[in-house]
């Protein structure tokens, strides 16, 4: 200001300075936008790559190979005394029928080792398949039917092209002879790929062709229901008290800091806590949706409380003042006016917390959920596992066919997560009010 311009030089106007720097400023702006955009594109392409990889690996798990064989339902094997007693029928040797059918189909096979290979083309679950048929319709006994039997996982992999037929025999799990049989059956149209219902209706299994996600899905369902029942009322209650009723002093500050810290605690810590407190002290049964829900409640509570408090904060004070002004008690003000307005935000927070709980594995490691549980859980206290744990266990299995099933299970989990997050977004769009 108090500097005088040097003599001779024309005075610099402000607009000149601005004009001189304008180009640089625009360039900076464009650079920033470009960096931002490329960050988004990079992120999206990674997500796209991940999805493409999972779908490419997993899509073939939704079909399963079946082999059609003429099975003779030999009365002497199934029902020797002709009583049609369901108990006798249930315990009959159905394996025998399949083996006979295979031997009739490939009469040249006599060597012990070769017969073993031949028998192993059909899944160990196929006898159960036949049993269910006979039990549903005992009139089949004595007849010969063309039955589509479940193929073994190695044959399934071969038919789906996951085992390369061009490789030398000693580098292939399915040997030339079996490949020959499969090609013979394929030529006769006796091999077909059908929709894999087993994947959605069975519990897990050591045999990939019999393994399904129904058990894990039900386990996840029971766990989430309980987590919601525990976490939502406690979380919302805590948020209302802290936000609306609690005095603002050092203690509530301390509580607030702690809640924010809890949200960042590694989830395995909650699992250790669950093991030490819920299982060891309170005797809650291990490996059940109940104990899993208790642990996951602890994990999701901070998320719900923080989201609920934010939702309460966004309700304008004028609503409260108006309610109090016409004579409502503080409790009525909250329940009749503030809570309904804050509910969409609270629900959004809760759904996000639930989605987090659905995808969580680490805290469940400690409480016995990493377990092989075949039976589909029937309630809150029956042993069960959950979807992410099932994925973890399958990913660790040596059988080739589990690779595609792992990816398929990931697809199901992702579908649920997307569905839940979509619900949260829609809820917010539909009900959120802005002042």
């Amino acid at each position: 200001m108090n500097k005088t311009p040097a003599a001779g030089a024309p005075p610099k106007r402000a607009i000149d300075i601005v004009n001189a720097s304008l180009k640089r400023r625009y360039a900076r702006e464009r650079r920033f936008r470009f960096i931002g955009l490329s960050a988004v594109i990079l992120g999206l392409s990674f997500v796209g790559l991940l999805f493409a990889d999972i779908i490419a690996k997993g899509h073939s798990a939704f079909v399963q190979t079946y082999i059609q064989l003429p099975v003779h339902f030999e009365a002497a094997v199934l029902d020797p005394d002709g009583s049609r007693n369901p108990e006798v029928l249930a315990r009959a040797n159905y394996q025998q029928l399949i083996r006979d059918a295979l031997r009739t189909e490939f009469p040249g096979v006599t060597d012990r080792r070769e017969t073993r290979t031949l028998y192993s083309m059909i899944s160990v679950g196929a006898p159960t398949q036949l049993r269910d048929r006979v039990l549903a319709n005992p009139d089949l006994i004595g007849t010969t039917q063309d039955v589509w039997l479940l193929a073994d996982d190695d044959i399934d992999m071969l038919v789906k092209g996951h085992i390369d037929r061009g490789l030398p025999e000693n580098q292939r799990r399915v040997k030339d002879q079996a490949v020959g049989w499969v090609e013979q059956l394929e030529a006769q149209g006796r091999i077909a790929k059908r929709f894999n219902t087993i994947f959605f209706t069975n519990g897990t299994s050591r045999e990939p062709e019999l393994a399904g996600i129904a058990g894990a899905l039900m386990g996840s369902f029971y766990t989430l229901i309980l987590t919601l029942l525990f976490a939502f009322p406690i979380g919302v209650g805590a948020a209302i008290y802290l936000e609306e009723f609690a005095p603002k002093n050092r203690w509530t500050d301390l509580i607030e800091v702690n809640i924010n810290n809890l949200a960042a605690v590694p989830s395995i810590v909650f699992g250790l806590l669950g093991l030490a407190v819920f299982i060891s002290v309170f005797g809650v049964p291990r490996s059940t949706p109940l104990v899993a829900a208790l642990v996951l409640t602890l994990m999701t509570l901070p998320t719900i409380i923080i989201a609920s408090r934010a939702a309460l904060k966004s309700v304008p004070p004028s609503i409260r003042e108006a309610a109090l002004g016409v004579g409502a008690s503080p409790l009525q003000t909250q329940i009749h006016h503030v809570l309904p307005l804050a509910m969409p935000g609270m629900l959004t927070g809760t759904i996000i917390g639930m989605a987090q709980a659905l995808g969580e594995t680490a805290p469940l490691l400690m409480i016995g959920m990493i377990a092989f549980i075949v039976e589909i859980p029937s309630g809150f206290t029956s042993p069960s596992t959950v979807l992410p744990v099932q994925i973890f266990l399958w990913a660790d299995s040596p059988e080739r066919a589990f690779v595609e099933r792992t990816s398929a299970a990931i697809m199901v989990l992702l579908a649920f997560l997307i569905l839940m997050n979509l619900t949260a977004v829609l809820l917010r769009r539909r009900f959120e009010r802005r002042w």
Partner: protein, 347 residues
């Protein structure tokens, strides 16, 4: 609305307390993740073919399994513990102290640890001493002093070995496979050196540290508990070598090949007859006090020790189990089915 939800939650919590008092109706098995595939296969067959419910099998690791197995008798404790090594004296004592006095030990077969690389590279032929020199943290120099492992390339250890950097992917210390690898392969290799062998008598702790210490300078990479991941990584990197359970080699013979150890290829036969050096026995342990209280324990043991399961042509062989020799299997099976309790282990 919230009130009714809270009420429901409280009722539920109360309901749990009452279920605790109820007896368990299914067998509960916990322990090693190496035995897990075999145990679950038997459990599944057992559930399918008998009227008993399918046992629950937890993969906690051998140590974790013993910890909970030995914590006492009761419906909230497991009935059977799977282990990829024999029970230790300390664990046995822990069991005794907690009232788990009668334990039946069942050796079920062998599990080989495969060292393998991608089929795109030539087969490697190592002996245990070379393997130890490649992976040990400290090795003796010519003067017999221990120095940090100087080897960067395989060819520096033995000119016949490939001229590539040492890059080995293996399991982390929490894994039973790592324990067994260290105890069998590393210890076997280090004892071929006189300087190390001398330590065994003079300084036992130092001997253990030298033999069991795996280098941490990047040549050995801990690749996580997931053996499939190690397989994928060595397929992607033909110069790397992986360490994992034999069943993973067996399932992936189209892309990877086993490394010869002392000239022996890891195959089903060489592990079964004991000529392949890096193999271990696997076990399960039964809590006799639970037999009779929890239905199905004895029947599960009978199923496991039947020839159609653990025999040379049984269904466990398809899952990668390497069966015991016939005579041993017969006597082990008879002891198991009679639930003959074990005596205290040697160490």
């Amino acid at each position: 609305m919230n009130k009714s939800i809270i009420a429901a939650a409280v009722t539920l919590a109360a309901a749990t307390a009452s279920t605790q008092a109820m007896a368990r109706d299914s067998v509960w098995i916990a322990g090693s993740s190496t035995v897990f595939p075999f145990s679950t296969t038997v459990a599944e067959t057992f559930g399918r073919e008998t009227s008993f419910p399918t046992p629950k099998v937890e993969a906690l690791g051998t140590g974790g399994g013993f910890k909970i197995f030995c914590s006492g008798v009761g419906v909230d404790k497991p009935d059977i513990s799977n282990a990829s090594r024999a029970i230790k004296l300390s664990e046995f004592d822990e069991c005794q102290a907690n009232g788990v006095t009668e334990i039946t030990e069942v050796k079920i077969g062998y599990d080989g640890i495969a060292i393998a690389n991608s089929k795109q590279s030539p087969v490697i032929d190592l002996n245990l001493a070379e393997l130890w020199l490649a992976l040990a943290k400290d090795i003796p120099n010519e003067a017999g002093e221990f120095v940090a492992n100087p080897y960067r390339k395989w060819s520096e250890i033995n000119p016949d070995l490939p001229d590539v950097a040492i890059e080995v992917l293996g399991p982390p210390p929490t894994s039973g496979t790592r324990d067994a690898f260290v105890e069998i392969a590393m210890e076997g290799g280090c004892n071929t050196f006189d300087a190390v062998k001398a330590l065994k008598d003079s300084d036992k702790d130092k001997h253990k540290a030298v033999c069991h210490g795996i280098r941490e300078d990047g040549a050995f990479i801990e690749a996580g508990e997931n053996d499939n991941l190690i397989v994928q990584k060595i397929v992607a990197n033909p110069n790397a070598i992986g360490i994992f359970g034999f069943s993973f080699l067996d399932q992936n013979t189209d892309t990877i090949q086993g490394t010869l150890i002392d000239g022996i290829e890891p195959t089903f036969e060489s592990i079964a007859d004991g000529s392949y050096p890096v193999a271990r026995s696997i076990y399960f342990y039964v809590k006799n006090a639970h037999v009779g209280t929890i239905p199905g324990i004895q029947e599960y043991v009978v199923e496991f020790t039947s020839d159609k399961a653990w025999g040379p042509e049984g269904y466990l062989v398809d899952k990668g189990l390497i069966p015991l020799p016939d005579a041993m299997r017969a006597s082990m099976g008879a002891d198991a089915q009679a639930l003959t309790p074990m005596t205290a282990p040697a160490n």
